[in-house]
């Protein structure tokens, strides 16, 4: 397959009547003389874990930012379930059911878990207290937060009033994932979820990803962690020089093959 071609490999057979849950065509993003994205294509199918890998500077971050609304591409189209979408802020992407777990996690460390889960979309009290005094419904947000954490099997966090800064790295990650899973109706994007974690905590994140997929959400996993990618991904999008070099599967290619495509040592799969 040619890099510019937007058809995917037949490795992941799909029903043609079913458009990708999230797709992009010909995304271009330039920063002055630097071209971060040079006509990148992208397709995410429903209920799959799609890994996005690539060398540094291949445009992974820019691609993910464009898909999550954190960056507005200069050219190109984004479609959600076959319908054109225009994201100018992360809020737009969220409204379309796309949630992102950023590498930095984007949590407020001094606020408690419940406040973080509902940050930017707080629940107000009913009646005059809520509409007129704008009073928040802390009790409801706490119980909902506890429920979301439980749903994901995060048992070690019991107290949603605990400040996020008192949590371990893995627990913070879990809070960020729980927030994405709680509000994302279509897609959860995870940017380097294991970069800051130890082996044990990385295993836990892997389980979280599977749990999220198990709920019918599609997952985009950006990671340098090849063993993790090969263990969990249904398909692997290889990004190179600002474009999609190709899409492979853990079954069709080995890690060595993929690294070769990534670095340009081997041609992209036809």
């Amino acid at each position: 397959m040619m890099p510019s071609d937007s058809t995917t490999l037949d490795a992941a057979p799909r029903d043609l009547a079913d458009p990708p849950v999230l797709a992009a065509r010909g995304l271009v993003k330039r920063y002055g003389p630097v071209t971060a994205l040079g006509g990148a294509d992208f397709e995410l199918m429903e209920g799959e874990v799609l890994a996005v890998i690539g060398d540094n500077g291949a445009g992974k971050s820019s691609l993910i930012k464009a898909l999550s609304g954190a960056l507005v591409p200069d050219e190109g189209e984004i479609e959600v379930c076959g319908r054109p979408a225009h994201f100018t802020t992360p809020v737009d992407a969220r409204a379309a059911g796309i949630e992102t777990v950023y590498q930095t996690l984007a949590v407020a460390p001094s606020l408690d878990i419940a406040s973080n889960l509902f940050l930017g979309r707080e629940t107000r009290r009913r009646g005059v207290l809520g509409s007129w005094l704008r009073m928040l419904d802390h009790a409801k947000m706490r119980s909902e937060a506890a429920r979301h954490l439980n749903d994901l099997g995060i048992m070690t966090i019991q107290n949603p009033t605990q400040a996020v800064e008192t949590l371990s790295g893995g627990q913070r990650q879990a809070v960020a994932v729980a927030r994405a899973a709680a509000f994302g109706s279509r897609v959860v994007i995870m940017d380097e979820p294991t970069a800051a974690l130890g082996v044990r905590e990385s295993r836990a994140v892997l389980d979280l990803i599977l749990e999220v997929r198990g709920r019918g959400l599609s997952v985009i996993l950006v990671s340098h962690d090849m063993p993790l990618v090969f263990e969990i991904a249904d398909r692997i999008h290889v990004q190179r020089l600002g474009r999609r070099a190709g899409v492979v599967t853990p079954a069709s290619h080995t890690m060595t093959d993929v690294v070769a495509i990534m670095t340009g040592a081997a041609p992209a799969p036809e």
């Binding site: 984007a106 408690d112 930017g120 009073m135 802390h138 048992m155 070690t156 019991q158 836990a204 979280l208």
Partner: protein
């Protein structure tokens, strides 16, 4: 502080409700985020204190204030007398009010050096419109609030639009607003006797338990209660904390951080106008030379109250305690015959100790 109030010891890894790791899903080998309970290094009393102060930001200021009151009450007979308590409350009313505005700005990791200048300018506008233009009191006060709002818009606009550091913006506007104040007032003090009585109302008193309390002090307390509600119970308050904690994280969470910042500076400007009204009542005049020390005094109150200059951490109640502590310290030392210069010396020492403590507490991980 209730929201961020966690049982301090929860940090040590014991979740009372859960014998966690071997929960119902123990069948799965690696549970999400399961990890060995944080190595509890048998917390020393010092570490426990650190945790406690971390979880309850206002505990430190409360204890320090209580100690100061007990010490001065035992040293001086006059300290606890109603007349003196009344005096302290009056002295604290202006700085305390202004410190409410300073607190919300510092919570966003900003700082406002133009506090005193905004207050003086608005007090002159109120006084002059009443005494010289002969406008009714409420109209003059309303005009003062409009000026405070405009000052807040200018500060907030420069911070959010031009992305300038708040320190620089307010250093500039400090000079600009103060110069406008001297120009408009022609460097002349406006006497209270020429003004509408509405402007002086904040200095009038009523008596509770033999203590004369000014309405200005009551306004200050109501303001603290209102701001405490807004910060703790509304989404706006959560967003102020989140913006100060990590602005980029807040933005990615869908918070319009520029809007939050602008609102904070505007609210602060209105609060300073309220401070100006209280000042007029307190000194029964509008003086273009007043408010010179307010800038640093408000920052002192905020810092002593346990709010972090790095943003995102602190509570409005702490600022009230901090302002009261400065008032009590100065008053108590004065009653004990200590020279003003040594009062300043003492306040300075306490500020440094408070910031050092804050650093130590925040080092907790």
């Amino acid at each position: 502080m209730g929201i961020t109030d966690i049982p301090a010891m929860a940090v040590a890894g014991d979740n009372e409700a859960a014998p966690a790791p071997a929960g119902p899903r123990a069948g799965r080998s690696a549970q999400p985020a399961t990890e060995p309970p944080p190595p509890a290094p048998s917390p020393s009393p010092v570490t426990r204190l650190q945790h406690l102060l971390h979880a309850r930001a206002t505990l430190g200021p409360a204890v320090v204030l209580a100690v100061a009151i007990i010490v001065f009450a035992s040293v001086s007979d006059r300290f606890m007398q109603p007349a003196n308590v009344s005096l302290v409350l009056q002295q604290v009313a202006v700085v305390g009010t202004l410190a409410v505005g300073q607190t919300i700005i510092i919570l966003t990791a900003g700082i406002d050096l133009s506090v005193g200048a905004v207050m003086v300018l608005t007090s002159i506008v109120m006084g002059k419109l009443s005494a010289e233009a002969g406008l009714p009191g409420p109209v003059a006060i309303g005009a003062g609030f409009a000026v405070g709002l405009a000052c807040g818009l200018i500060n907030g606009g420069l911070v959010t639009r031009l992305k300038l550091p708040p320190f620089i913006v307010t250093l500039g506007t400090l000079n600009v607003f103060f110069a406008l104040n001297l120009w408009y007032s022609e460097s002349a003090t406006i006497r209270g006797t020429d003004m509408s009585s509405t402007l002086l109302w904040t200095g009038e008193t009523f008596t509770v338990f033999d203590t004369r309390v000014t309405y200005g002090s009551v306004i200050m307390l109501v303001l603290f209660a209102g701001m405490g509600f807004a910060l703790r119970m509304t989404a706006w308050g959560r967003h102020v904390y989140a913006t100060g904690d990590d602005a980029e994280a807040a933005r990615l969470s869908g918070i319009r951080t520029s809007r939050v910042l602008l609102s904070v500076y505007v609210v602060a400007g209105l609060v300073y106008a309220l401070g100006a009204w209280i000042l007029i009542g307190r000194i029964a005049a509008a003086s273009p030379q007043a408010g010179q020390s307010e800038n640093l005094d408000t920052i002192t109150a905020v810092v002593l109250g346990g709010t972090s200059l790095f943003g995102g951490r602190g509570a409005i109640l702490g600022t009230l305690l901090g302002a009261l502590f400065v008032g009590v310290l100065r008053n108590g030392l004065a009653l004990s015959g200590v020279d003003v210069l040594w009062q300043n010396f003492a306040v300075g020492i306490f500020v440094i100790v408070a910031v050092a403590l804050d650093q130590w507490i925040r080092r907790l991980r």
